[in-house]
Symmetry: C2
Subunit: 220 residues, 2 copies
Amino acid sequence: MSTIQPTTRTKIRRKPDRAAYERAAIEAILDEGLICQVAFVADGKPYLIPTAYARDGRWLYLHGARSNRMLRAIIGGETCISVTLLDGLVLARSVLHHSMNYRSVVIFGQGEEVTDAEQKSHALRYVVEHIIPGRWADARQPSDQEFTATLVVRVPLDECSAKVRTGPAVDEEDDLRLPVWAGVIPTKQSWLPPEPDALLMQPVEVPAYAAAYSRPAKPA
Amino acid sequence: MSTIQPTTRTKIRRKPDRAAYERAAIEAILDEGLICQVAFVADGKPYLIPTAYARDGRWLYLHGARSNRMLRAIIGGETCISVTLLDGLVLARSVLHHSMNYRSVVIFGQGEEVTDAEQKSHALRYVVEHIIPGRWADARQPSDQEFTATLVVRVPLDECSAKVRTGPAVDEEDDLRLPVWAGVIPTKQSWLPPEPDALLMQPVEVPAYAAAYSRPAKPA
């Protein structure tokens, strides 16, 4: 099993028993998530932008308009990116032992622009397919103008780690006898029936990938 | 309606039609969310940590162990905090017009430690009640030792804004005639039946706040 060597930045110090450095564990979280948070520094201050992404092997792709300030900041600049999935609320017998079950990944690195046209097209396809597998081939492809106006940035998945909490509350021994309910309220992202666009000009069947949507969804 | 004056940091430049500066809109997003992302700068580099929070009036509360590096970094130090709620996937007729419906808040500011015992206790109660209203009074209260070992930090909601996307795809006029399905796949956080702790020593009924859990959940 491939493991990523933790660095001073990715080594989990708080609750180290929750750390996961196996590449497979990290990739599974990234492949299930839909939104990442991208942090960068400008004028010495922190900034944070949520955005879509996709993982392709050992790269994370981001995209946006060519003028996108966040993307421009992380090209050759340091970024920290996180993806967090919430799995449940953990009710302990004492108030300060309450917790959440979650899976999160944090990535450190520098972005680089994907300039090669073929690689850029591949990356854009991956971003769409990460979100809705099967969609890329069904919709209109980018025009030359759209393609040029879009900036694609990739960040290597070299310095990253996952943190995962699962299972029940961890209470103090003495608290176990308290007449306080304890347990977990599990949560998941639910997907509702697709709502067709009001401007559809002709009857078009809802594609299977939309009608039966769920996560994770692997690029085709 | 109370509106927050945008600053150079909070003014939405990309897609300004999605900006919301009304305090009520910002508060509603914060009150529905469960996890915030906290960015800070250390040695000139960006860091990002997901954590629980609560809003109380014009403050955002964070808490953790006294040694928590993120909390210590933002006491008197700059932070950028975001809360992002995903509402749906937007399928457009062209691949690059795909989008997501979401509501997000971004907050800039400096943290300050809550040292006053009464305010600190209030803040901790708010964090628990933000997540599970009604829970604080049911569970064991903090011991002096637990209370002392816990660090509470608040960040003012002075410099913040929301960004909200709703509604259908925005396609090019020429694309509307394409025989491509378009629409929205709505999503929501679902809450499953609570799972009682295996170590419950006596029959304790599942509290109503756990049995019928949903968001948003207002502190009692």
